[in-house]
Every structure is written in C-alpha cells, then in structure tokens.
C-alpha cells in the first residue's frame, strides 16, 4: 500500500489532534484541571486532558490501518504525536514573543508552565513537549499490537488509576469516614495519609493500585458472544430470577447511602431524579419514537402540584402529606400528558418536536406569569414545602431521601421494562418503525400515542414531586428548556430505548459534572462535545438497546447476511 499516503493521513490526523489540544489549552480547560492532581506531584488532570488527544488519535489511527501497515503503526503514531505538538509549541513560542493574553485570555503563564513541564526556556520546553507527545503516541500506537489480553489489562489499570486520581478528593473523605467509623478516627486518618497527599494519590500507592487493577484486568477471562448475551439479561435467565446477582445488588443499593455519605448521596439523588425523567422520556422518544422537546413541562407540573398540595406557606392550599400528594402529582402529570397528546396526534417528526417545545415553554411561562401568581407565586415560586416524613421521622438528610428516589426509580424501571416486553411495547415499536402500517395492522394510533405521552409524563411528574419536596422550595427558573435538553441528551448518550442506558447516561451527564465541579462553566460545552463525539463514534449510545444497535449497524449486518446467502 501507499506508505506516503498513510504518512500524509497521519500528518492530517495529527493536525486535527493538535487543533483539539490547542482548543483545550486555549479555552482554559487544561489549566482549570491542572489543579486536580491525578498522581500527587506527577501528573495533573490538565496534562491528561492535553495528552490524551494524540494518544487516543494515534491508537485509533493504528486500528484503522491495513494489516501490513500495522507493523509500522507506531511510527505513524509518533508522527501524529509530533504533529499534535506543533500548534501547542507555536502557542508557547508566541506567548513568549507577544502578549497574546489580550486575545486568548486563558493563555496564562501557568498554562505555559503546564505545557513546557516547568521549563524556563520556551524553545527547550516546546521541544520537550514535542518529544514527549511523539513518544507517548508512539507507545500508544505500539500497544495496539500487543496481545488482546495485555492490552485489556493495561487499559483496566490506566482507567482505574485515572478514576482514582480524578476522584481522590472524594475518596479521601469517604475512606477517612468509613475506616474511621470502623477502626477509630486515627486509623482512618493514617490510611488516608498513607494513600493520599494534597488531594491526590501518592506515587507508590498509585503504582500498587495500577498493578492490582492491571492484574485483575489480566485475569478476567474474555467473554464469548453467548456469555455476553447471557450477562445482558443477568437478572433473569430463562424466566428464572438469578438471586445470586439480585441479592448482592439489592443489599448494595440498600446500604449505599452509608457508603456514600451526605455529599455523594445528594449527588446520587440528583442523578436519580434525572434517571426518573430519563426513563419517562425514554418511553416517549425511545420506545414510541415521538420526539418531545418540552418534556420539562411535566416535571414542572409534578413539582408545582406537590408544592400547592403540601406547602405550609401562604400558597399551600391543602397541607397534605407528601405521601398522599405523591400519587396525585403523578396523576395530574399523566393527565397533562394526555392533554399534550391529543392536539399533536396528527403531527410527525419535526413538527411534533416544535409543538412540544412550545408546550414546554407555555408551561414555564405560565409558572412565571402574573395571571397565575396568586396560585403558584410567579417568580418568587412556592416556599415551605415540607420534606417527606413518616411519623416523627423527617427525611431531611440526603441519605434518607435517597430511599424515596430509589423506590421511584425502581418502580419506573420495572414499569418500563414490563411495558417494553408487552403488547403495548410492540405497538410503540411498530409505530416508531412505520406509523401508517402500524395503523393498518389494527393499532389505534391515538390510544398508543397518548399512552406513551401520559406514562412518560407520569414518570416525570413523579420526579418533579420528589424534586419539589427535596428542595422545599421551587422557582419557575428551575424549569427551563435546558432540563428537556439535558434529559434528551442523557438518553441519547446512554442509548435511546435502552433502560440501563438511561442510568449510565444520567450518571455521566448529571453525576460527573457534579463531581468535577471545575466543569461547571464548561458544562454545556462538554455536553456538546460529548454529543458530537458520541454521534460520530458510538451513535447507539453507551449501553445500546438491541433495536438501535441493529438499526445503526444495519449496513454491516446486511453485508454479512448477503455474504452468507
């Protein structure tokens, strides 16, 4: 094959990687994350963010090479790495010659320090950056040739150390309190001091953790296709509940708040509320194929219903208990779903999306309007919503509230799962595939669509009700279109139509940004990036549903089928 062309491809890939790495640096992301150490005093997350770009690109590039060219793969990797460094080196040199901070506000001395590994001389630092990028990319491309098993174990080790490093601040706190509670606080502190230093894991423990993770990754026997298929339905195999997997999971879910502590429980609760909404929207968009962009409306309706029914403030009308109000909220939201469903019955695709978007806006305008101010408080919202309570036990702490969220999520999961594998699930799927033919098969489109809308809305209403009670006060500004977008993004990232996908999507899009607080101002940028990357690399999502996997990879399958004929 044409080696020259491949080198040119590598050069081009390198430039792409270089521009991405440059953007990460110039936007201030790298510097922002430089404060978060991965391994204390050795690498920071900022460095990882810059270096990961050529490393991943080089690996992917090698993956796509023809068999004969793979032998020289590492060289191409080095080319990619070196090329990636060019824009960064130019940035470093430019920053010493001119005052470019007028334009690129984020190109600060500390960013340059990060890129040059603290070298005073910009040229020497730039060279260092270039060489190290080339070397790392060379290695990355080289690992592609290693046996599958070693590759996997290395990968496991690297990911583990990255995660431990990234979240070491939280880990520190958890280890201290868990071990402290069991063995006494001095032991807890000692363990923490041994493992961590200035909010990052120490070098030696890092090596140990890496070694253990690598070993575990090495020992893990790769699954055959059949086993993979089985493990997908691990909770129920051949109609029998697998207690061996269910019981440990149930126990873990029950004691989770004890392990997580207050802060992480709070994060988990937020994720849980989004999982609930995700499961609802998943029915509408994933199962029935109706694009709903105004999904926040039902969340708002659930929350406001809860507020009006239970608030002890001036706007609360009934002073009901949380538990009594909860089913009412769900029913009201479901009715709202029917109300939305009827007028949009004859609409499809883009039109439906626009109308639902409008519906969402109408509800949030109503919440803030003067007209409804006497009932829902306008911009001031509704205050003094009591937290759930049983007898004298008030669910104040996130650790306790967790169980309410958990119960809601489990219920929604169960209902989604049962409906998906039923007659109604088939009707939804058929409607998604071909509306006209579905109708010609005797499916009542009106009923089927309205059911999708109202069941989806009910889940969201439940989420809203719990949300209102959790915050004890609600404001119209909490219910903006961004929530709809977030929920839609999370089901796309997780895998449209997939139930585990919703959980993964919520954890990634809602949980991660909460844990990496530095993200806050880059959150939407990250969403956009993630969505673009997902659409390009893995359009079926992290945990694809069977149907969508087939759909998106249909061309491969068709090819196989044809070849088999």
């Amino acid at each position: 094959m044409n080696i020259k062309k491949t080198y040119r491809d590598a050069w081009n890939t390198g430039w792409t990687a270089g521009i991405v790495a440059l953007s990460i640096s110039a936007l201030g992301l790298a510097e922002l994350f430089a404060k978060r150490n991965i391994v204390s005093g050795v690498i920071t997350m900022g460095q990882v963010m810059v270096f990961i770009v050529p490393i991943v690109m080089a690996y992917n590039f090698t993956k796509n090479l023809s068999m004969e060219q793979r032998k020289t793969g590492p060289l191409f990797g080095a080319v990619i790495g070196a090329t990636t460094a060019i824009p960064l080196v130019l940035l470093i040199i430019a920053s010493t010659l001119f005052n470019i901070r007028d334009i690129f506000v984020n190109v600060s001395p500390s960013l340059i320090e990060l890129l040059t590994f603290g070298q005073e001389n910009a040229y020497l630092g730039g060279l260092l950056l270039l060489v190290s990028m080339a070397l790392l990319s060379y290695l990355s491309a080289y690992t592609h040739q290693l046996p599958e098993k070693i590759k996997r174990s290395l990968f496991t080790g690297l990911i583990t150390i990255l995660l431990v490093g990234m979240f070491s601040e939280i880990l520190t706190e958890r280890i201290r309190s868990i071990f402290g509670a069991i063995f006494g606080s001095s032991v807890g502190s000692a363990i923490v001091r041994f493992l961590f230093k200035s909010k990052a894991i120490q070098s030696i423990p890092a090596i140990v953790v890496f070694a253990i993770a690598t070993y575990v990754g090495y020992r893990k026997i790769p699954k055959t296709e059949e086993e993979k298929n089985k493990s997908k339905r691990a909770f129920i195999v051949d109609g029998k509940v697998q207690w061996k997997t269910v019981i440990p999971l149930a126990v873990l879910l029950l004691i989770l708040p004890l392990l997580l502590g207050t802060y992480l429980s709070e994060v988990t609760n937020n994720v849980g509320i989004y999982i609930l909404m995700g499961l609802g929207l998943n029915i509408v968009v994933g199962f029935a194929g109706l694009l709903d962009l105004g999904y926040v409306a039902f969340f708002a309706i659930g929350a406001y219903t809860m507020a009006v029914l239970t608030s002890t403030g001036p706007l609360g009308l009934f002073g009901m208990s949380f538990w009594l109000a909860l089913p009412i909220c769900v029913i009201v939201a479901a009715l709202a779903g029917v109300m939305l469903g009827i007028p949009v019955l004859r609409m499809r695709g883009d039109y439906l999306a626009i109308v639902t978007l409008g519906f969402g806006e109408i509800i949030s305008r109503l919440a803030i309007s003067d007209m409804l101010k006497p009932y829902v408080g306008g911009a001031q919202g509704i205050l003094q919503i009591p937290k759930p309570s049983i007898g004298s036990l008030v669910f104040t702490k996130p650790e306790v509230l967790y169980y309410v969220v958990l119960a809601g999520v489990l219920l929604a999961l169960f209902v989604s799962w049962r409906l998906r594998d039923s007659r109604l699930g088939r009707q939804w799927m058929a409607m998604r595939e071909d509306e006209d033919v579905a109708e010609a098969m005797g499916i009542n489109l009106m009923k089927t669509k309205i059911l999708a809308f109202s069941i989806g809305a009910a889940f969201s209403g439940l989420a809203g009700a719990i949300f209102a009670s959790k915050l004890t006060s609600i404001f119209p500004h909490s219910f903006n279109v961004l929530i709809s977008i977030n929920v839609l993004s999370l089901i796309i990232v997780g895998g449209i139509g997939s139930l585990p996908g919703v959980i993964v999507g919520a954890a990634v899009l809602i949980g991660l940004p909460e844990l990496l607080r530095e993200f806050a101002e880059y959150r939407l940028l990250m969403y956009g990036l993630l969505l673009i990357v997902m659409m390009l690399a893995k359009p079926e999502g992290f945990v694809p549903s069977e149907v969508h996997k087939r759909e998106l990879h249909a061309t491969d399958e068709d090819f196989v089928a044809e070849a088999g004929d």
């Binding site: 409906l419 799927m429 058929a430 595939e433 006209d436 033919v437 010609a440 098969m441 759909e551």
Partner: protein, 265 residues
C-alpha cells in the same frame, strides 16, 4: 355465492387528477380476483381507498353486504377483516420476523395495556398463545427457524412471505395483495402463485390482488378488472380479458389492438 366486498361508483380526486373514476367492482367470497392495468392506472389508490388510507370522494365501499367501510379509520377496517400487503415491502424493518407477525395479531388481542405490569394471567396466556400462533404462521409461510431474524435481513422472497404472514395474523376474511410477485424470478413467482392459491384453498380467504405478471394473473385469478386512467375498462374471466381489444389498447397503445387482431387472424 355472495359478494364479500362491493365497490360502488367510487371516485377519488387529488386536486385536478382523478385517480379513481367512478369505479365499481364486486368481489365474490372465496374467490381470487385481480386488478390489472398500466402503471399509474389507479390500482394502488383503489387499495388505499378500500383499506382506509384515503377517504373516498364519491361512491361507497360495502364489506360483507352491509358494513360500509369507506371513510372508516384504517385500524377499524383491519378489525373488520380486511388486511393488505404493500407494493414496496413495508415490514417493520428493525423488528424480528416473529415480532412483525405479533404486531399483525393486534386485532385479536384483548388484554389491557397495564396488565403487562403485573403480568395478569390473561396477559400471560394471551401472549403465549399469540407467540405460538405467530410461530405457526411463520412455518405456514415457509420461514421456519427465521423467527429471530430481523425482517430487514431476510431475503427478498422471504420478506414478501413475511408480509403476507403478518397480514394473515389478524385472521382476515379479505386479503389485498399489492404486486405479490414484483421483483421475483420465475421460480419464486411460481412458488408465490401456488402459495396464493393455497391461501384461498386452505384458509378460505378471499384474495384481491394487483399484479403485473400476466402469467400469474391468467393462471390463478377467477375474475379480472382492468383499470386505465382510474376507470374500469373491462371486467371478466381471464379468457375474456385476454381477447378484449380495449385492454390490449390500454397496454400496448392505440392501434395495437387492430394490429394484433390481424396477426392472430
């Protein structure tokens, strides 16, 4: 013998175009009938009118002597007992063959949607029966062992058969086949012809088909209606149609009929 379907003076206009013009046809119960005609004659539009995809502008369509079925919603017409296949196969591409047939059984299922949540006895039994029936239909159309295949991955002939199986799943009285042998080779066409005959003989289903393959039409249909520019230009038994000069003219152009007559004479 009584008529299972009476199409009486039906007209359908799209703007200025009269797609079906004052068209009438009576379909005798337990017969195989065909509608033929040049491309654009309005045959598929006729099917769309019968199955409720379009509403009629004039005229009436009566099912089983006394049930008017023009301008009824499509799903209700299916529930009456009329199902169809499509000219360009319209299976639920990303559903398995079995799932396609299960959807076809919709009109026969009665469980309430929420029963699925607690898996009521009725729901479980009904689903099990439906699955069994779907499997049986799959075997009936000769697609044994392909139930878990995605319908999009099936070979062309199998897709046609699956579409018929899906249409049969609701136990229809009248089956409309829109070009059942389109795109098939002579072998497959022969098989399909026998299969259609088999459907009528074994299941007693009345069949109305649109077909371009004259061999198929002449071999198995008992009654043929010829459409041209939305109107009926001829009707009768295969023999009568073959020698009808207006039909030859519609297919081969003005003057051809007289030319042919001289040749055959």
């Amino acid at each position: 013998m009584e008529n299972i379907l009476c199409v009486n003076n039906v007209t359908k206009r799209f703007g200025g175009l009269v797609a079906v013009n004052n068209f009438s046809v009576d379909i005798i119960e337990n017969s195989i009938s065909a509608v033929i005609g040049p491309n654009g004659a309005g045959k598929t539009t006729l099917f769309n009118l019968i199955t409720g995809f379009y509403s009629t502008d004039e005229g009436s369509i009566i099912f089983e002597e006394d049930v008017p079925c023009d301008n009824r919603p499509t799903d209700q017409i299916t529930r009456l007992g009329i199902t169809r296949t499509y000219q360009n196969i319209r299976l639920f591409a990303n559903m398995s063959a079995l799932e396609n047939i299960l959807v076809g059984q919709e009109p026969l299922l009665h469980s309430f949607w929420a029963e699925a949540i607690w898996r009521s006895k009725r729901f479980v039994n009904e689903e099990a029966e439906a699955l069994e029936e779907a499997q049986r239909l799959l075997n009936f159309v000769g697609l044994q062992g392909l139930g878990d295949q995605l319908s999009r991955n099936l070979p062309y002939g199998a897709q046609r058969r699956l579409e018929i199986a899906r249409a049969l799943a609701s136990k229809p009285k009248l089956l409309l086949l829109d070009e059942p042998t389109a795109g098939m080779n002579p072998n497959e066409t022969g098989e399909m012809t026998r299969f259609i005959q088999h459907l009528r003989d074994e299941l007693g289903i009345t069949i109305l088909m649109i077909e371009h393959d004259m061999k198929v039409v002449m071999d198995i249909s008992e009654q043929i209606s010829v459409m041209d520019y939305g109107s009926k230009i001829a009707e009768g038994k295969p023999k009568e149609i073959q020698s009808n000069p207006r039909v030859i003219e519609a297919y081969l152009g003005r003057g051809a009929a007289s030319g042919l007559e001289t040749v055959t004479a």
